[in-house]
Amino acid sequence: MDRSLLVVEDDPSLREVIRLGLEEAGYRVVLAEDGPSALIAFASSPPDLVLLDVMLPGLDGFSVCRELRKISLVPIVMLTARASTEDVVEGLESGADDYVTKPFEFPELLARVRSALRRASLIASAGAAGTSPGVPGATAAAAAPSSAEAPPATPSVLTLGPLTIDPAAYSVRRGDDEIPLTVTEFRLLYELARHAGQALTRDQLLELVWGYSYLGDSRLVDVHVQRLRAKIEQDPGHPTLVLTVRGVGYRTDRHERS
């Protein structure tokens, strides 16, 4: 049952403290100190989540992230330099699900890791739980209810234009073709489709998808919407499924199916 995490960090002290803390929290931790050894470690035993430092000697974190995305949809959390937009955006564009800025307090890192791991398991219950996109509060991600407490229910299969979204099977299909989405992308699409016809603000999406509103920022949403569009839209430059609502956020339309 222990979730396994791959931690890629070049500074030995930080690597060690992350290992200590995560093992304390009950995770199995595999360490790698640079890009190539991270890719080897990933291939030998795929983890449930990758914690990836941006500043790595040789192959940097962005490249490692892109390489991992070629072979896997695993949740990836980046460790980036503080408040540097280029790093954050490049990290997200290279396929990361979330980021934590250095230096970080350990509880914050743990919250992000838990939040990323929980995203997949929350999918199953979200459809029935009917979480309404309310005012995002200061609720920390760690305080959100775990999947075990949510009432078990069979979430309904949603359709969005030509897409069929099945939360139980965790799949998005266009006709018979399965579209590979990361858990975050899937969750984003699912929430937008579940609230079809309703514009969701970036803050609402942060709370619904990432499980926190204030710790994150709107770039998380924007970059993930771009990545999602690149996968599901016929022409990502002129999206027809996930639409931008200027000054507010995003929405999907209810599609009449004949």
């Binding site: 500074d11 002290s13 930080l14 403290v17 992350i18 200590l20 803390g21 304390e24 330099a81 503080r82 408040a83 540097s84 937009t85 280029e86 250095k102 230096p103 970080f104 307090e105 350990f106 509880p107 890192l109 005012v135 995002p136 509060g137 200061a138 603000t201 803050d203 204030y214 920022d217 709107s218 770039r219 000054g247 507010v248």
Partner: protein, 501 residues
């Protein structure tokens, strides 16, 4: 603020050009006037002399003719014949006074009364005299002389008006020529002044550009007097530029060093922050792990590492701002929900009051306005940087001032007249309830590591908070000013451009 200085310069330059042109015109006018007047008067004197000579010659001939024509004892008929003979000449009138009160006259209508006593007495002495008089409005030269050793006198009247009309024409021609010359002189003077002042203009323009920070400006070299000025100016510019480059290079080295040091510090600080926080959370979950004094030490280590982290964070941020490597994502930010959320998330609800004065809406002091409820005041800013500014200002107010702290936001007054030309501005004020900032410290509160009281411990912040806030404000196209409010309390006002609506 660059407006008034060049305008002043150009006014001075214009007046200089005007002065040169004026002097030139004055010189032209005086010269033309002198030329015209001397030409006129020399010409007039010559003509007068010539006319007089001609009249005298004619008169002498006439007198000689009269002497020879009149018999020993001339009677009335003789005189009549004589004046008739003179009339044939036609150019003058004749008056022969025989002393009986009824003179003989020919030519145009002249009378004995026209002859002045002065002239008559001269003639009575047996000499030839002349005088200029007016005969029915015409200027006339009258020449008188004795006939027959003085018992009879003859006067000849030569009208001068035709000649004077010629002189008047000459005068008019000279006047017109003078006027034309003056206009031409003015134009030439203006062009000359402009041309003469071109190097001055260039130099003044270059000086203005230089004062505005453009050290690349150079004056064209020349071999005249301005060439010397230009060469000196260019040398000065080069020296200044070299010095500035030196200075900038030094500053850049210094900043680079700080940035490098900070960067190197970051990795161990990151590890320290992780380790200390892990240690603390372990202790929190199980206090029996170690003795209470060790727990206290762990708390102190955490606090100090927190300060170290803050310092490194602030140094990194200010290095990035200095290197102009800071990036911004400008977007419209609704102030009311933004500030309300900030106050809530930061846990300031007890110590910070919020008053956002949305246009055309009653003042509300609530901290729980729902997101996107109303448009209200909207600034154009980078959310993260705006948050940084407000957080730094409020933290400064809480640390150095006293709670409660008031945040207010309103449209900047006094821009209505320029609303079309200039996008509106929004003022966000952060006011504390402390005792204010001493006047001598007020200009320095944004200085890096400035300590209002050197003896006071620096344990309450990195000393960079306000500097970072102001750099960020400037990055967003705004600024921050510090002031004291009446009744105590420091107030910081952040000005930001309003979003286009």
């Amino acid at each position: 603020m660059a407006g008034p200085a060049p305008r002043h310069q150009s006014a001075a330059r214009r007046s200089l050009a005007r002065r040169v042109a004026f002097i030139f015109v004055a010189a032209v006018v005086i010269t033309a006037l002198a030329l015209a007047l001397s030409a006129y008067f020399i010409s007039k004197a010559a003509q007068d002399q010539e006319a007089l000579d001609k009249a005298l010659t004619q008169s002498r001939f006439n007198l000689f003719l009269a002497d020879s024509m009149l018999p020993e004892a001339p009677d009335e008929t003789d005189y009549e014949r004589l004046v008739d003979a003179f009339q044939i000449r036609g150019e003058f009138a004749t008056l022969i006074d025989v002393g009986d009160g009824s003179p003989y006259v020919s030519g145009f209508n002249v009378t004995r009364e026209l002859i002045t006593a002065e002239l008559a007495s001269k003639v009575a002495e047996g000499r030839i005299g002349y005088q200029t008089i007016q005969v029915s409005g015409r200027q006339t030269l009258v020449v008188g002389g004795p006939v027959r050793s003085g018992e009879v006198t003859a006067y000849f009247f030569y009208p001068q008006d035709a000649r004077l009309a010629g002189l008047a024409t000459l005068r008019n021609i000279l006047l017109i020529a003078g006027a034309i010359l003056t206009v031409l002189g003015a134009i030439a003077g203006y062009l000359l002044a402009k041309r003469l002042l071109r190097p001055v203009r260039q130099a003044s323009k270059a000086a203005v550009q230089m004062s505005q920070g453009d050290l690349d400006i150079r004056l064209p070299a020349g071999s005249d007097e301005f060439g010397v000025l230009a060469a000196s100016f260019n040398r000065m510019a080069e020296n200044l530029q070299a010095k500035m480059l030196d200075l900038e290079a030094g500053q850049a080295r210094e900043r680079r060093f700080v940035a490098d040091v900070t960067h190197e510090l970051r990795t161990p600080v990151s590890a320290l922050v992780g380790e200390a926080s892990l240690l603390r959370s372990k202790l929190e979950s199980d206090p029996s792990v170690c003795a209470p004094e060790v727990a206290r030490l762990v708390g102190m280590v955490n606090t100090d590492i927190g300060r170290l982290r803050q310092l490194v964070d602030d140094l990194l941020e200010i290095s990035r701002l200095d290197a102009q490597a800071a990036d911004t994502v400008l977007e419209p930010v609704q102030l009311r929900p933004f500030l309300a959320q900030l106050v809530q998330v930061r846990g300031w609800s007890d110590s910070v009051q919020l008053a956002v004065h949305d246009p055309e809406q009653p003042v509300q002091d609530d901290t729980t306005a729902p997101l996107a409820a109303r448009a209200g005041l909207i600034v154009r800013a980078d959310r993260r940087r705006l948050e940084r500014i407000i957080v730094n200002l409020v933290e400064n107010a809480l640390k150095h001032g006293a709670a409660p702290v008031a945040i207010d936001a309103r449209e900047a007054p006094g821009h209505d007249t320029q609303r079309d030309a200039q996008r509106g501005l929004i003022h966000i004020g952060v006011t504390d309830s402390g005792s204010g900032i001493a006047v001598e410290h007020l200009p320095h509160v944004f200085d890096r590591f400035y300590k209002a009281d050197p003896s006071r411990s620096s344990s309450r912040g990195s000393g960079l908070g306000l500097a970072i806030a102001r750099e960020n404000a400037r990055l967003l196209g705004g600024d921050i000013v510090a002031m004291n409010v009446p009744g105590g309390g420091a107030r910081f006002v952040l000005t930001l451009p309003a979003a286009d609506s």
